[in-house]
């Protein structure tokens, strides 16, 4: 099977799981369908040459974050409740907003490297459109030179070092905040 066929299979799986996630009455089933969406997205990341992020997606998103969700759902025992899907007027509004957003975002599907280069005013030259993007070419070559993790680590710890450190402060603040909020009495 070519990469395209695999991609479309995974994409159909992701969209189907996402639709089931927002329509399931049972909150726990909803959470598990979201895990399924995240797994198919992780597989798509591998197809898009982002193997490290695929692993992180499974570990952090489908693992840690969704376990937190399932934990809270079971703690609050809200699995079996009456349907919480809103009434007909809101459904119509949601459908209209969805269709409107989809029509706008549909333009994205026509983006190609060539149109991207033309859009930001770079002339691609005679060769392939990718010649206009040396950074993309370097990014595609980096895993072969530095390894899959090293290719991400180099920009993360050089160009984006300050945002990385700020992220650690954010995580500390979130951990303290979550404990304070969830505690009954300080």
């Amino acid at each position: 099977m070519s990469a395209e066929v695999v991609f479309y299979l995974l994409a159909a799986f992701a969209v189907g799981s996402a639709l089931l996630c927002i329509t399931q009455r049972n909150v726990l089933a909803s959470a598990l369908w979201l895990v399924s969406t995240m797994f198919s997205l992780a597989a798509i990341y591998v197809l898009l040459q982002a193997q490290f992020l695929a692993a992180i997606q499974v570990l952090v998103y489908a693992g840690a974050v969704m376990v937190l969700f399932v934990f809270v759902i079971m703690l609050l025992n809200v699995g079996r409740s009456a349907s919480d899907i809103r009434g007909l007027p809101v459904r119509v509004i949601a459908l209209l907003v969805g269709v409107g957003l989809m029509v706008q975002l549909f333009l994205l599907s026509r983006v190609t490297p060539g149109s991207l280069a033309a859009g930001i005013g770079i002339t691609a030259g005679a060769g392939s459109p990718m010649d206009a993007f040396p950074a993309g070419q370097a990014g595609a070559d980096a895993p072969g030179l530095q390894g899959v993790v090293g290719a991400i680590a180099e920009p993360l710890f050089r160009t984006y070092l300050v945002p990385f450190e700020i992220t650690s402060i954010l995580l500390l603040a979130a951990a303290v905040g979550a404990v304070v909020l969830a505690k009954r009495k300080l």
Partner: protein, 98 residues
């Protein structure tokens, strides 16, 4: 190079997330729909990082961290609200409605 199809998939997932936020009244499901939208944006970053370099993948790293922090704090808030009103249904959470 699956740039166009990836962007289309991310658009579809983002739209499903928005529709889910509008459609559901359960605060936990609302949070999961926000996570779905964040995932769609991550897919856009990774699709563009194929062409524009690895900076996009680093940005996905940051988005995941912020999403994890947001989920922890948000679920703690939902827990506190549940203790107060014994419900996670948004129709019972209307203190700010006046």
């Amino acid at each position: 190079m699956l740039l166009g199809p990836s962007l289309l998939l991310s658009a579809v997932l983002f739209t499903i997330g928005v529709v889910g936020v509008l459609l559901r009244r359960n605060a936990i499901v609302l949070f999961m729909c926000v996570e779905l939208m964040l995932n769609a944006v991550n897919l856009t970053f990774i699709a563009f990082s194929q062409v524009l370099g690895l900076g996009g993948q680093v940005m996905v790293f940051f988005v995941m961290t912020v999403a994890a922090a947001e989920a922890a704090v948000g679920l703690a808030i939902i827990l506190a609200i549940f203790r107060h009103t014994r419900s996670v249904d948004l129709k019972n959470i209307n203190l700010l409605q006046g």
